[in-house]
């Protein structure tokens, strides 16, 4: 053997991939399991003790939760809130999905893009809009109704369990729509045609064939959304707190960051463990439902075009329904826009038009804290979304291409955070980093977001990579490209629209998230979501509205064009 070749030879098995795999495995398990470990540890500490303080172990927190009278109500509230809002959201989403995917209703592409772009509107903003619309004091709709019907008191209020459920249900319609329209797109229309051919009426076909075929898919979508709603924090926090309607996430928040007194981390941790178990149970149901759905899968590959039925005399009704929905969705944004243009909140009227100005924008945009928050937000969302996608590309490569036990473990670990509610992860991060120098910096939020959005990234990249023929990658290796070059120059560019789409999703959700910024809040790491929350609480409604509009407009400017681009690219491929 020549000397040159000595440098090129390598002990079998230890390739750059192996190093990367072990680094990833260490990183992901530390990021996912580390915080959860500290959380569970803390839940066994006596009340008032800090996680790393050696104060012995006790079951006191669990006993406390299980014996306290209010506990049962909190569990019940959580489930009731999650399932009712999901039922409402799925019902509306199904009707709209049906109309845009399976009928000849005009403007369906526009509706589709609107639905896909709705992620640019944080639920927080949506909730504040509704407060402005229907608060009992001077909510625009309340005032209107009182004037028209000559009522003495306000008929509506955002601060009730019912209002919370309706507003949450409305805000999850777009997510449900994205999932359900996917189900409808993948359904083989010939199964329905078989129904028409034997002479069944359209309604009978829908009832007897389409719905039963969709049932397993709908079931898994419902469970997935319930799992998500059980974990939500923002809407229950801003509406439910006043409504005296505590759910698990808001109670954990209150325990971990009380307005008065010392935090009770032990109790918050134990409650977090309960929420975690609830989410894990739902995840188990979700996997069962997916298995069921797989058996019903009727995908026969690409190339079929679903038959669109003629709306006929139902056309006006369809437009009325979709029109009403979009009006209801737009109203909160309009009232926020209105409020942001006034020196103080006033019920919309022609008289107030004279006072419209950009003064509050000028005010917030010159405030150092807001500017700092904008800077932090940009830093947070670009770093976390880019890091999630970079990690996901690597992890998915191992999951899809390399096989073996460690790759499967990596895949599983990266999916696990799906069942970890953000509030639980946020409290866990708080406990883990409390004593470390990065506590209070933007980096803790970044780490938190990377962990909770990793499952979305790896799921997307797994399915994207699976569609790529492995020879395309082998060709790069034989051409002399290193593994990394192959990934960078060949594999990732091939699935670029998917990467971009997932990156955008993570970015939008990172902007929207209030949980981590609020739990881990410090003077340094204020972001727009937490700035909005604090300003609303101040209270400064016009300033908050201005921040909300900046948030929505800024995010839309990124989301809408990318959505249009990727929808076209992915549809074309």
């Amino acid at each position: 053997m020549s000397v040159v070749s000595q440098s090129r030879m390598r002990r079998s098995g230890i390739t750059p991939q192996t190093y990367v795999k072990w680094i990833l495995l260490a990183l992901v398990s530390a990021m996912v399991m580390g915080p959860l470990f500290v959380l569970v540890l803390t839940s066994f500490r006596p009340p008032g003790a800090l996680p790393f303080q050696d104060a012995g172990y006790t079951l006191a927190n669990y006993v406390d939760i299980l014996t306290r009278r209010g506990s049962l109500r909190i569990f019940w509230n959580t489930l009731y809130y999650a399932s009712s809002s999901v039922v409402l959201g799925i019902t509306i989403a199904m009707i709209i999905a049906w109309l845009t995917e399976r009928t000849n209703m005009g403007g369906r592409t526009l509706f589709r893009i609107l639905m896909f772009s709705w992620m640019a509107v944080p639920p927080l903003v949506f909730g504040y809009g509704w407060i402005l619309l229907i608060n009992p004091g001077n909510g625009a709709i309340n005032v209107l109704l009182m004037n028209v019907f000559r009522l003495s008191g306000a008929p509506l209020s955002p601060y009730s369990p019912l209002a919370l459920i309706i507003i949450s249900g409305l805000s999850l319609v777009p997510t449900a729509y994205v999932m359900i329209s996917g189900l409808l797109r993948n359904m083989d229309p010939s199964l329905e045609d078989a129904g028409y051919v034997i002479g069944a009426a359209r309604s009978t076909t829908v009832r007897k064939i389409t719905l039963p075929l969709m049932r397993p898919g709908l079931l898994s979508v419902s469970i997935f959304l319930i799992m998500a709603m059980v974990q939500t924090f923002d809407l229950p926090q801003i509406l439910g707190a006043t409504a005296q309607f505590p759910v698990l996430s808001t109670r954990i928040y209150l325990l971990a960051t009380p307005e008065v007194g010392v935090p009770n981390y032990g109790l918050a941790g134990a409650l977090g463990v309960f929420l975690l178990m609830l989410a894990l149970a739902l995840m188990w149901f979700y996997f069962r439902a997916i298995q069921l759905a797989e058996r019903f899968r009727t995908v026969t590959g690409k190339g079929f075009r679903p038959r669109r039925s003629d709306l006929g005399r139902w056309r006006p009704a369809a437009y009325l329904f979709v029109g009403t929905y979009f009006t209801v969705m737009i109203l909160p944004l309009l009232i926020l826009l209105w409020t942001s243009l006034l020196p103080y909140y006033r019920v919309p009227s022609f008289a107030a038009f004279a006072d419209l100005s950009l003064a509050s924008y000028a005010k917030v945009l010159t405030e150092p804290t807001v500017l700092r928050a904008m800077e932090n937000t940009l830093f947070l969302v670009f770093i976390s979304s880019t890091a999630v996608m970079a990690l996901s590309c690597l992890i998915s490569w191992f999951a899809v291409r390399s096989g073996g036990r460690s790759s499967r473990l990596l895949d599983l670990l990266s999916f696990l955070p799906t069942a970890v509610p953000p509030i639980v992860m946020a409290v866990a991060m708080l406990l883990l980093f409390m004593r470390s120098p990065i506590y209070g910096t933007i980096w803790v939020i970044i780490i938190g977001h990377i962990v909770i959005y990793l499952p979305f990234g790896t799921r997307t990249m797994n399915s994207a990579f699976m569609q790529i023929h492995h020879e395309l990658e082998h060709a790069a290796a034989v051409c002399g490209a290193t593994w990394m070059t192959g990934l960078r120059r060949v594999l990732v560019p091939l699935v670029w629209p998917h990467v971009l789409n997932a990156w955008l999703w993570v970015l939008a959700h990172s902007v929207r998230d209030l949980t981590f910024p609020l739990i881990l809040l410090s003077s340094q790491n204020l972001v727009l979501a937490s700035a909005l929350y604090l300003r609303w609480d101040m209270p400064d409604q016009t300033g908050a509205s201005a921040i909300a509009m900046i948030l929505v407009v800024g995010l839309s400017a990124l989301v809408v064009p990318i959505q249009i681009y990727t929808t076209r690219r992915i549809d074309r491929d």
């Binding site: 020549s2 090129r8 079998s12 098995g13 390739t15 060709a475 034989v478 051409c479 490209a481 290193t482």
Partner: protein, 417 residues
């Protein structure tokens, strides 16, 4: 056509033509298992594969689907890790389990064309071909890249499509791009995995000739994988015939076709008469359903053992009935069926109630029902081991076939008897 420019290219392509005697590629005792050998029985994809390729030679791995050709090629390329064995390339060990050496695929300086061509759809033809020079281990300055890519594209006559994206290319054009990409960095060894199987028949025939001429002109050592025996015979200097992960026979196309050493080789390389036989005491005469036949003594079977006599339909001579020469192994038979194929006449000859397939000269005037004389020249009556000699109770004639289905047909004939 595309070979004309090869001479021009050749000067640069052959930089390391120092010692032409040494084998460029040596594969020793290569094995590859799939699955965990600790748990359950692993799939044995290839088992003890040994062969060498001389510098500048064109070697073909031939065998039915699933016999391990691609696995062997991927082990050579470094895309799969063999379970054991050794691979030497140009005098260097690139894989050895005993010495713990694995040179990764990207360091082996190979050219490879894949069955799916693997042309990257997000790049232009130019960028595809430039990839090895820009991102590979053989990087060159960018001015050089342009010149070499255009040279390689001229070689495959695609220089006018350089800026096109690959989804807008035809199958044949994609194949040429793949070839240009595999050659642009002047690899020592070119690996081709069924590159012709996705092309239509006509294009396949032209590409067959062109690929062979091209690599021969460039002097690049080539390992080619195919399951098509006609392809293998027309292109190769040497054929390695494989079955279920093992090498059945190695040799030139002529050797493999004319002297199959096993029933599988006889079957796979074309149609043969497979005649059950019992050898005599010195192994030169075989007792067959057609009577005693003198056979080619060049075999390793024990005297008095059971064997198969392989005789190709083309090997059988139909002598002129006017000429009354006496030659050994002359048989009389009745023409049962006769199909006139133009290039040849295919005859089923009934002898002693058994059937013998004969390919005859189309200019002979023959008709069904006619009784003719045929000669089975002894040197063309090859003796191979009978794989199911043990469970055969009654002598019968197994027949003919082409490719992988033949052995099954043979077995079926036997069982139904």
């Amino acid at each position: 056509m595309m070979v004309d420019k090869a001479n021009l290219y050749k000067a640069t392509a052959r930089s390391s033509g120092d010692n032409d005697e040494r084998a460029l590629l040596v594969v020793r005792d290569l094995r590859k298992y799939f699955g965990d050998p600790d748990r359950g029985s692993p799939v044995i994809a290839i088992d003890s594969v040994n062969f060498e390729v001389k510098r500048g030679d064109f070697l073909t791995l031939l065998g039915p689907s699933g016999c391990g050709k691609s696995t062997t090629l991927q082990c050579i390329a470094g895309l799969q890790h063999p379970s054991s064995g050794q691979i030497d390339m140009d005098g260097e060990i690139v894989f050895s389990d005993q010495q713990g050496i694995t040179v990764p695929a990207n360091k082996r300086k190979l050219g490879m064309v894949f069955q799916s061509y693997a042309i990257w759809p997000h790049m232009t033809v130019f960028d595809n071909v430039a990839f090895p020079l820009v991102h590979g281990s053989a990087r060159v300055p960018s001015a050089e890249v342009k010149r070499r890519v255009m040279e390689a594209l001229e070689l495959v006559e695609l220089d006018h499509l350089a800026l096109r994206y690959s989804p807008h290319l035809s199958g044949g054009q994609q194949q040429r791009v793949a070839l240009a990409r595999a050659l642009v960095h002047q690899p020592k060894l070119l690996l081709l995995d069924e590159p012709l199987s996705n092309l239509d028949v006509q294009l396949r025939d032209t590409m067959r000739v062109e690929i062979r001429q091209l690599v021969k002109q460039l002097g690049i050592t080539t390992v080619f994988v195919t399951h098509d025996q006609a392809e293998a015979m027309s292109m190769s200097d040497e054929i390695v015939l494989m079955q279920s992960g093992r090498i059945m026979q190695k040799g030139t196309p002529r050797q493999i076709f004319l002297c199959p050493k096993s029933r599988f080789a006889a079957d796979f390389m074309g149609r043969s008469n497979l005649i059950p036989a019992a050898l005599n005491h010195d192994g030169t005469i075989a007792d067959t359903p057609f009577g005693q036949l003198r056979c080619n003594p060049d075999h390793k079977l024990a005297p008095n053992s059971r064997a198969l006599l392989v005789i190709r339909p083309q090997a059988i001579v139909v002598p002129d009935p006017e000429v009354d020469a006496v030659s050994p192994n002359t048989l009389l038979g009745e023409i049962r069926t006769l199909s006139f194929l133009g290039e040849t006449v295919e005859i089923d000859l009934g002898i002693n109630g058994h059937c013998l397939k004969v390919m005859a000269d189309p200019y002979l005037s023959l008709s069904a029902g006619q009784v003719i004389r045929v000669v089975l020249p002894p040197e063309r009556c090859l003796v191979v081991p009978d794989p199911d000699a043990s469970d055969r109770t009654q002598a019968a004639v197994g027949l003919i076939g082409n490719g992988a289905t033949a052995s099954r047909n043979g077995a079926a004939v036997r069982e139904t008897r």
